[in-house]
């Protein structure tokens, strides 16, 4: 649902193991640190590597009633199955960020929906950490949507990622920025 104020409903989806839930938590943490209202709802039970995973995040400047996202304003999809499942639910005028490393065809959607196809896996491989593809995608999203900056998200990485993985902080930060640059360069 929409309101007069700021109200953004997001679905992030892909394979289990692509860091879908972590990406959603990073987004939620970043929004909270900016003083915004936020809810985060993961799919649960099937988050095994190779299974499907998705999460719903709502960011708003007013209290959020339902935490469930029926029709997202923005959709980030990391594989084809997720694109097929969630793209039809995108609102008109919405934003689709899709992983063009794994999705080779442009989906047929309403003309009012903006599509940004980001080769997130290739970019992550260039950085030497294939698993940072999720950060490339969220960086691309944040640059486009502007309500939260890629820098603000980078500042929240340390408190979102488990301590035992903190050696990946630099590469994840770099991946966030590469995603943001991709969007800038393609505008």
């Amino acid at each position: 649902m929409t309101t007069n104020g700021f109200y953004e409903e997001i679905i992030i989806a892909g394979f289990g193991g692509q860091g879908i839930l972590l990406t959603g938590r990073l987004l939620a943490q970043t929004a909270m640190k900016q003083g915004l209202e936020v809810t985060y709802m993961p799919s649960y039970g099937a988050e095994v590597r190779g299974g499907t995973a998705n999460c719903m995040v709502i960011i708003a400047d007013e209290p959020i009633a339902s935490p469930l996202v029926d029709r997202p304003d923005s959709l980030i999809v990391m594989n084809k199955a997720s694109l097929n499942k969630f793209a039809p639910r995108l609102k008109n005028g919405g934003l689709l960020i899709m992983n063009s490393s794994l999705i080779d065809t442009k989906p047929k959607l309403d003309d009012s929906i903006e599509i940004i196809a980001v080769p997130v896996d290739e970019i992550a491989v260039e950085l030497g950490e294939k698993r940072a593809a999720n950060m490339v995608a969220i960086g691309a999203y944040l640059q486009k949507r502007g309500s939260l900056s890629p820098d603000a998200a980078a500042a929240c990485l340390a408190e979102t990622i488990a301590k035992r993985h903190h050696k990946t902080l630099p590469v994840n930060t770099e991946a966030l920025h590469r995603g943001a640059e991709f969007t800038k360069d393609n505008e």
């Binding site: 809810t39 709802m41 959020i64 009633a65 339902s66 935490p67 029926d70």
Partner: protein, 349 residues
């Protein structure tokens, strides 16, 4: 922190001395969190061999006067019913969190509100009630924990916190409140060693003729006191509402979104959200029924709380129902659709 972890930390802040539990999705984060945090606080954590064991460990710990809790999800809560009945009979305080999932049977792990009857009607055998709290946000879930422990101690009664898979798994910003709360009576009934005092006895067995009847009257008087003093409910825009939607827990959040949307479209809708499911806000709903034309009850079940709403409305006005069972969650647009259907002509008959 997800809802499960947040409620666990809130329980620790509320002074939970001992946690007993057996893992089950979608509440495993509670047991996992407690296994780490309770030893850090030098308190008791036991992963029991079954739900039966867990609830009876709760009985034992409570009888010694300690604050104690267990958590589970629907099938596990069914296994605990014998123990909950014994707690009620022996008048022992305890907190039981049910992060509901789809049923019947093993069902699935999706969110559900199918255990309303079980929670609000006692659940086990015998003539008893438990206090039942139905939070709808992670903040309220967190605030429920100290309240649940206080209510349990004040009335010497098991208190059920009825959450669901969404509330357990979701995250939202919270504030963990450490303020002192109710003044509570001393636990002079507890089994703490009878040196230099009369022996205390904790029991649910009353064999002499008339003794159990007397005991039940005593319990009933307590339940009436709770119904008088402890009802909590929230309401919105009832003044001019032509339709009032009643829902609790996560379903109430979906209803809130739908009602906001309906108001924007010029439909005079309002809502009532019971926070205590037992004691039920019968009076508040009865009062609203004097002034309103239609009630719609929305649940993640095939219709359980709707019976309590009907009892409260007592035939004064139509009570309709919309729900989805087995892990199905009503969407905002489905609820909005129902509101629209009901507000176009058929008014007070």
């Amino acid at each position: 922190m997800c809802g499960n972890e947040a409620l666990a930390e809130a329980a620790i802040i509320a002074g939970c001395d001992a946690y007993f539990g057996y893992p089950i999705t979608p509440q495993n984060e509670i047991t996992a969190y407690m296994s780490k945090r309770m030893p850090e606080e030098d308190r008791v954590f036991v992963q029991s061999e079954s739900e039966l064991a867990a609830i009876n460990m709760v009985f034992g710990a409570s009888a010694t006067g300690k604050r104690t809790m267990t958590t589970s999800s629907s099938p596990g809560i069914s296994l605990m019913q014998e123990g909950i009945s014994y707690l009620a009979g022996a008048e022992l305080p305890a907190v039981i969190v049910n992060v509901m999932r789809g049923g019947p049977g093993l069902g699935n792990i999706a969110p559900s509100q199918g255990d309303y009857f079980q929670a609000t009607r006692g659940g086990g055998h015998g003539d008893y009630r438990t206090i039942v709290l139905g939070p709808s946000t992670v903040q309220e879930l967190v605030d429920c924990m100290p309240l649940a422990f206080d209510l349990a101690d004040q009335y010497q009664i098991p208190v059920v916190v009825l959450a669901d898979g969404i509330l357990g798994q979701m995250m939202e910003p919270i504030v963990l409140d450490k303020k002192p709360r109710r003044e509570l009576p001393p636990k002079d009934w507890a089994l703490t060693g009878a040196k230099d005092r009369e022996q205390n006895i904790v029991r649910s067995l009353w064999l002499p003729e008339g003794a159990l009847e007397e005991h039940n009257y005593k319990l009933q008087a307590k339940y009436e006191q709770i119904q008088k003093d402890e009802v909590l409910c929230e309401q919105y825009a009832l003044d001019d509402a032509e339709i009032v939607v009643v829902a609790y827990g996560v379903a109430a959040r979906i209803v809130r979104s739908a009602v906001n949307q309906a108001r924007k479209e010029g439909i005079k809708a309002g809502w009532i959200r019971p926070i205590t499911l037992w004691p039920f806000p019968t009076e508040q709903i009865a009062k609203a029924a004097d002034e309103l034309s239609i009630f719609l009850v929305v649940e993640m079940s095939m219709g359980q709380m709707v019976e309590d709403v009907k009892l409260a409305v007592a035939g004064k006005t139509p009570v309709l129902f919309y729900g989805r069972p087995g892990g199905g969650v009503p969407t905002v647009s489905q609820v909005l659709e129902r509101i629209k259907q009901l507000t176009i002509p058929p008014k007070k008959q």
